[in-house]
Symmetry: C2
Subunit: 416 residues, 2 copies
């Protein structure tokens, strides 16, 4: 399929791309201790109620609430102490009217008891008798069976990044293994006759491979597995072979093309030769990143269209466009819907920012606090300098319908 669209706005480009890619849901079972930041693949149900028995939520005396009605400092209720509930054991005591049992926070409520009075509201008369100085309501200071979760209740929906509290909740229910979405594999290919490995000696005219490494880190941060395929010379056969190989074992294939026009054409030619539908978008209306190629290629082994993306060779464009297109793709594969606001900061723009209407601009900004409020300060300089991004705290998006933003405006900054 030939390139049939040029310079789409980013959301349209993304939509067209997504509509041509198929996602498989594959999951794996792992130890819950290793599940931090993994994504639940299925809704997880409680195998039993939590707590599994009624527990005291205070230190005090388990009793029958009815025995304390009307109790006060001047007219206490006198209760027999039948014994003590030992932690971690089934109480051997059965309470009858006018009886009580010493109980600690977390202790199992003995049969017959329907409330607990806090120790602060009691006075020991002897080892056998206690004065209760305040009435206690039925069920007071008790954590009932299933009050946290009921048996069979959904405790974690599918598509959730597991946090420390989810890990704890799973353990509370004895779920020491958990089913999570398999991480998508992202094959990363750098091209360019001038590009050399970072550890190699650099000669005149050569530059080190930045993109393989910055993109790998981004992919891992987003929840994917990065497979680096090294640096491929700008030659069709070599590139086609490595892209075909990467397509077999990865769900997403990323090619950072050399930055010259002829090399970019090579990338799209190779993609079109690998599989249908081929290049879908050749050029996105965004800066940096205009020459981005979005594509999909049919992989007959699994019978689905896999995502292929050609990124500009310059390291800033490559990383910004990967943040814009590859991170959401990984999240889509993981079946998570990360909320918009969790990686955005509202900040006050420090200067007027002109922009070309009809094109989306992504501008590196520093975030600084002024009078306790965040301010976004654009970092200027040529758009292809990696250390511009190193100095930045995030990206300011100037929407395509704006002809610019004004000083003092509240803007959204993508934490990056």
């Amino acid at each position: 399929m030939p390139e049939f669209l040029r310079r789409l706005p980013p959301p349209d480009a993304m939509a067209l791309w997504l509509s041509n890619i198929q996602f498989l849901l594959t999951s794996e079972e792992i130890d819950t201790t290793l599940a931090l930041d993994r994504v639940s693949s299925n809704p997880i149900l409680a195998p039993h109620p939590l707590p599994p028995f009624s527990r005291s939520s205070v230190d005090g005396f388990a009793l029958m609430a009815a025995d304390t009605y009307g109790a006060s400092d001047s007219l206490p209720a006198y209760l027999e102490i039948s014994g003590e509930v030992m932690m971690g054991r089934e109480p051997e005591i059965i309470l009858h009217p006018s009886q009580s049992a010493i109980i600690h926070t977390g202790g199992m409520l003995p049969p017959g008891a329907d409330a607990v009075v806090m120790v602060e509201h009691t006075q020991m008369v002897s080892t056998d008798e206690v004065e209760v100085l305040k009435p206690v309501a039925y069920g007071e200071n008790i954590l009932k069976i299933g009050e946290d979760v009921g048996q069979g209740e959904e405790i974690i929906p599918a598509g959730v990044f597991l946090r420390p509290q989810e890990i704890g909740g799973l353990m509370a229910l004895g779920l020491t293994r958990v089913q999570v979405v398999r991480k998508p594999r992202v094959g990363i290919i750098s091209t360019g006759d001038e590009v050399i490995a970072p550890e190699a000696h650099i000669g005149p005219g050569q530059v080190r491979d930045i993109n393989s490494y910055s993109l790998s880190a981004l992919v891992e941060e987003a929840g994917g597995i990065a497979n680096r395929y090294g640096i491929v010379p700008d030659a069709e056969t070599a590139l086609r072979e490595i892209v075909a190989e990467a397509l077999k074992v990865n769900e997403i294939v990323v090619i950072t093309a050399g930055s010259s026009a002829s090399v970019r054409d090579l990338t799209s030619q190779v993609i079109n030769n690998i599989g249908e539908p081929g290049v879908l978008v050749h050029g996105v209306n965004v800066r940096p990143g205009k020459p981005t190629i979005l594509a999909a290629c049919y992989d007959s082994t699994v019978g689905i269209n896999k995502a292929v993306i050609g990124l500009p060779g310059n390291p800033v464009s490559a990383l910004v466009i990967a943040r814009m297109f590859i991170v959401p793709l990984i999240e889509k594969w993981l079946r998570v819907n990360r909320s918009f606001f969790f990686d955005h900061i509202k900040a006050r723009l420090t200067i007027n920012l002109p922009s070309q209407a009809g094109r989306e601009d992504l501008i590196p900004v520093r975030i600084k606090l002024k009078n306790g409020l965040p301010e976004a300060e654009p970092i200027f300089g040529k758009s292809n300098l990696i250390f511009g991004l190193v100095r930045a705290d995030g990206l300011l998006r100037v929407p395509p319908d704006a002809t610019g933003l004004s000083v003092g405006e509240t803007v959204d900054v993508i934490v990056f």
Copy 2:
């Protein structure tokens, strides 16, 4: 040293604790490919300028700017084409007046050239001659030596969490190994006669160990290494032995005490017996988490006071207090100053929230978008239910000087 203070406000408690702990700065050298989310231990300087040579930033013709003065569509400048600059090689061409060389984006500028004209502003007359249709300024379309960073320039300060762009920037300079702060080790001890391992069969009156696992995950998320010491019975000798052992190999020791008052006293007694200064804060004016113990114990092997913290046994208090006190401690150890606003969201409160003046409340909230704006909806229920935190997106802090917050107020939510 006896407990000399009770129920301090959280900031005062933290300040007192920190002033009694010593931090060692220990670093290690690791592969840059493994450095994502690690923290730089030293300022990193550029070993050479970047780019290391002047490069073209467009596809076009390298030339001398003076040759194009006054050039236009109707009166082009005619230049001889001396050859082509090959990517990744030192140009063999030396330009003289009225000469030019074909150059690609990223190509090394040949000697004699001082500007590049974009191919769009030229017309080939023959393979030997090109018409330049627009004047080019001196230095135009050139990325100069050191324009990204100069030799010896600080590229990454100490104390920075390394992101994909820092990884890329290091690789650009051939820095394939990087010096990072060693992760602090956090020893985690669960206590409680009623607590059993998550994989064990649960009997009446028993609960599974949640805290060892939720706290381990939190520690790892914050950049530390969690060492779990299992579940210790509520007995002084056993607890003292394990705390002493943990103190030797960890920078921070966390004890989640059984929740009853007697067991909490056991924890502080054990801490005071281990080393000076012992318990510093016994009780913090916050809910949940009131019975928190902040302590420091001298470790003679390294000659510093190490941090010890006793957390309430209930899993919500334990996790919330760990977020409040242990995460900043890990960041202090890592020497990072994570900006306040990166893990906070501003949201509109959905209801009136009464609160006791003089006490700080931390309330789990859900974040929902309404008309595109984030709203914070408190999750009610008893404060010791782990699944209350599972349902939450963050914690709303009700400051101690407030007697509550009103519906519609903009509040800060800690992403958690």
